[in-house]
Symmetry: C2
Subunit: 356 residues, 2 copies
């Protein structure tokens, strides 16, 4: 088990060695560790190697200047200058929050960015300002639209954070697929099958093989099949892609660049880098903040008191599991499995810093 | 088969007889017929009786004055004065569009409204202004959150309309459940079972019985079960509910009033009427409109050219089936099944107008 502070300092040092400023490196480390604390380990330390390899391959800009290229009272388009995704994203969400202070809401589309960790981190930035936060991003294509065998979309997540008064905030953060990509990797490492409804083979036939993506297979959208509403998952994933990429001028759909260095740069570009979309909505642009937050308390208590199915302890509010994990992982420490530790040690040696 | 114009005129006359102005009655008729044209018959003429019975029971206000009760440069809260939902909704979306003209985006939360027909109608209002349109609404509770047997949410739909240049617009309009409520009624009338994954019984056990809602059952969220992502459908449905009701001051979750007169008014209120949420985003607040729309053409052509699964003709773009239906139904006419025709004749007789 590793302490939060140890992994934070190590991650920060890695990015400083890669040329990021002290300030930027601290932000990046915070987002990496937020994923670990919230039990989204698929977006945590396991990804550090990908970022390091992209930097070694000169495919990511650690000295980027993130700039606004277009704006209106409630909107902006941001160019990430090929920054580490966390830097482009945090700056963009900050702009959305500033816009919202004046116009009631702020909406920022960001192009020329990269993988940014967990979407929930940026949505939650709005909470301390008594705002609702929204964050969307597209991602490299692994997912087939309904009726198709072509990988056209990423797992394109949606995050929405809504403040309450005495209750903890409502925080939804989910891929628009039945499962996140990382769960396939976990099943593969364990040598297990996955349930039907997650992936299909190269011909579009149902599959329970977590390694099927390596042989022309693809992930399915939320809903699984047409009968159970996969076209609705396809709609959601498309909306995330269009908001993130067409609003911003980033690459869309099958042209989103890979977030790992072992996959080649795509030949065809239809925009700049990966795209994100951020929203901040001042709650007092709709209702007095105190009234809204008390009403959210009532909403949360109402849903928490729904009758559970027999055998289930309770009905959860979005954000409950992650908040419980945060408390536990901050106190008990963060588990790093041996294979990932080996990666971190290897990065440390190459950069001349310590990790043990 | 009925001609569009005949059903439009009849519907308009019905609402005029109920006290709506000429102008309002035409809007309501247009939304009813939009549902029929787009093959969403579950929101079309079949519903006229519900509106009529609510009016007879004095539970809906046909002389309503819809007003803005709070606003910021990019937001407004609208009180629907218990209007027919179409009137509150069309006025609200119009306000969102006006806000967007000045602030780049416009966001309106509406309370004290009623059932408003198809959400896609209002989202599509934005298209002619080169804006993206968004429409959400909550609805009377039939759906259980993940791990629960309590009916806490409606089928809470999401509609998003995005303009293109030479391609038709992208129009997504879908319930956050695997199927719409109306599909259960259709299966019931045919005496058929439904696939597992749509509903559960009163104990939360899987069910294929379309009549199970009458015996304590509930609908499931998009995803179906926890393993296949029902918690994501629960998140979506919750977000729609909170945006529609907590932002506006309407009733949320289990307190949303029924949209039919044969169900009693609920004893507990936590706000006013049903709630909706509308968004309009000027595309040139992000990108020059022409560039954006040409890029959307490219997005649409890219997805349309995805390889279909063997046995499928093509990959669809959201909005394709409804647009094809519109053309077909406008030319061939609209089918009204005998049971619904009987309802319409009965309403006509009671109001002293013709229907045959």
């Amino acid at each position: 088990m590793y302490k939060y502070g140890y992994l934070f300092d190590f991650t920060k040092r890695v990015f400083m060695k890669m040329g990021c400023s002290d300030h930027d490196s601290a932000i990046i480390a915070e987002v990496f560790l937020a994923a670990e604390l919230r039990d989204h380990a698929s977006h945590g330390m396991i990804r550090l190697k990908d970022y390091y390899e992209l930097w070694k391959a000169k495919r990511i800009n650690t000295g980027a200047h993130v700039t606004i290229v277009h704006e209106s009272p409630s909107t902006a388009v941001v160019d990430g200058d090929n920054a580490v995704g966390m830097i482009a994203a945090r700056t963009s969400m900050g702009i959305a929050i500033e816009k919202a202070k004046k116009a009631g809401t702020g909406w920022v589309a960001t192009r020329n960015s990269n993988h940014f960790g967990i979407a929930g981190y940026y949505a939650m930035m709005a909470l301390e300002f008594d705002m609702i936060g929204i964050c969307l991003t597209n991602a490299n294509p692994l997912v087939a639209p309904t009726f198709s065998i072509s990988r056209m979309m990423g797992t394109n997540p949606i995050a929405v954070a809504i403040p309450a008064m005495n209750q903890p905030p409502f925080v939804a953060d989910f891929a628009t697929t039945p499962i996140a990509r990382g769960k396939l990797a976990v099943a593969e490492k364990k040598g297990e099958k996955v349930p039907f409804g997650f992936v299909q083979d190269k011909d579009g036939l149902p599959s329970d093989d977590p390694t099927i993506l390596k042989r022309g297979g693809s992930m399915l959208t939320l809903g699984g099949d047409r009968l159970h509403g996969s076209h609705k998952g396809y709609c959601l994933s498309s909306i995330v892609d269009i908001f993130s990429a067409v609003f911003s001028g980033a690459n869309f759909g099958p042209f989103v660049p890979p977030s790992v260095a072992y996959l080649p740069v795509l030949e065809k570009k239809v925009g700049a880098g990966t795209g994100h979309f951020f929203g901040a909505m001042r709650i007092d642009a709709f209702q007095p903040a105190e009234e809204f937050k008390l009403k959210m308390d009532e909403w949360i208590k109402t849903f928490r008191s729904a009758t559970p199915v027999k055998g289930q302890e309770k009905v959860l509010i979005p954000g409950d599991p992650e908040r419980e994990a945060e408390i536990r992982n901050m106190s008990d420490g963060i588990k790093i499995v041996p294979a990932i530790k080996d990666d971190l040690v290897s990065i440390a040696i190459q950069l001349g810093i310590d990790f043990e």
